[in-house]
Symmetry: C2
Subunit: 240 residues, 2 copies
């Protein structure tokens, strides 16, 4: 896929990660908070006839850049069609290529925390009012969803995770297994399982995803497990 | 990965899908509702010294078989360790390999419905009481999550999706864009976007994933978009 494009746009860290694969192509790289310019430049390149790949880590559709592509095309009233569709030749073709999001990569390292209903919530209040984030944490906690927390903490946002923990503790046992995965599948990968009451002591950053179990989740040895419910319905023989 | 294993276990449809890749290996295949036996057989094979791959479609950790593996090992008190760990040589090594779940594959075909917080809910009440499912739909609807519905309907479960729709309509506009993706990335793939009030008329089955937008989601041409909120914070120039 990358081979066939003329231009590659991305956050500088991700461009560096794949640089050996894209050497020689036109590159649009920019830093954090420059998302709008980066995506506008990528769309401009594509509209002027250059095929352009905009890269994200994980899955481009989960809290990532795919949304901004469509948001900008909509605002600018650019005519877009799904890639490969036979309609209007002048329209810009867009293809979103799904990937393995942090919620899946992290879960796989913890064991199986997501075998039942879950809610993902970003604690970043840069673009979302904190009141709405808090309302979502409360709702997910009350309805016994496994809760997956993205963007738990940054250098500037330091109090949100502890606040989320306090809300969750109103509805969950203090020993609820809580998985903390940092830099899943990358260098410096770190995987821990702690009790929910200890979450505020954990070392987390912007590369961390937090998994708070539901009322049936448990820890077994070094794994975190949310059962689907088979053992309630079918007999699992305790003997080997 | 598959090359290095002796035994492959899976639901018969998935075994058939990858059969050319696993010819000659020992195969454990079984049908729907035989999940417990299938996973028990896979664990038995692994415990007796055969390396065994248990396959799922999508991501094995999202409503899939990874959870049951751990559930059974826990019940039988089988000593398990993460694959590659240097501890006890007699322990069973387990590695969960993440994949692209239906929630990502489907979202990519719709555009970008998941750029903000979302909740995934299975409507299957075979293993979960309907009251809890309803409570989760209500909570997710009230707190304005994008709602992703797995297992919306089967031959025997026919009324749950319409009930879910009714709950969602208490909190969401009747025109809320709702994506319906069946057999994503497979033969017979089908992608539609309808208004929430029309969801009950849609053709859905066990291979369908439904995406109900939040209050900010919109439809633009053939795409469904949930904005992250950049356009509220940063100026997106409407001119090209």
């Amino acid at each position: 896929m990358l081979k066939s494009v003329d231009t590659v746009a991305g956050y500088k860290t991700y461009i560096d990660l794949i640089y050996p694969l894209i050497e020689g192509k036109k590159i649009i790289r920019s830093g954090m908070t420059q998302e709008v310019q980066r995506v506008e430049s990528a769309i401009e390149a594509a509209c002027s006839g250059s095929s352009c790949a905009l890269i994200s880590s994980g899955d481009p559709g989960i809290y990532a850049m795919a949304g901004l592509v469509f948001e900008i095309c909509q605002t600018k009233e650019i005519e877009i069609v799904p890639s490969g569709s036979r309609s209007d030749k002048d329209a810009l073709q867009i293809e979103v290529i799904p990937g393995v999001p942090a919620v899946c990569a992290g879960a796989s390292l913890l064991g199986a925390p997501l075998t039942h209903d879950f809610a993902t919530i970003s604690l970043s209040d840069l673009l979302t009012p904190w009141e709405l984030i808090e309302k979502r944490i409360e709702a997910a906690a009350r309805a016994d969803f496994v809760v997956v927390i993205y963007n738990p903490k940054s250098k500037k946002r330091t109090w949100q995770l502890e606040k989320a923990q306090q809300i969750l503790l109103k509805y969950r046992d203090r020993n609820t297994p809580t998985g903390i995965v940092t830099s899943a599948m990358r260098q410096n990968q770190d995987v821990q399982i702690v009790a929910l009451e200890k979450l505020h002591e954990a070392d987390v950053n912007m590369q961390t995803t937090v998994f708070v179990g539901n009322s049936t989740s448990s820890r077994y040895l070094d794994f975190m497990i949310t059962p689907r419910g088979y053992s309630k319905k079918y007999k699992i023989n305790a003997n080997r």
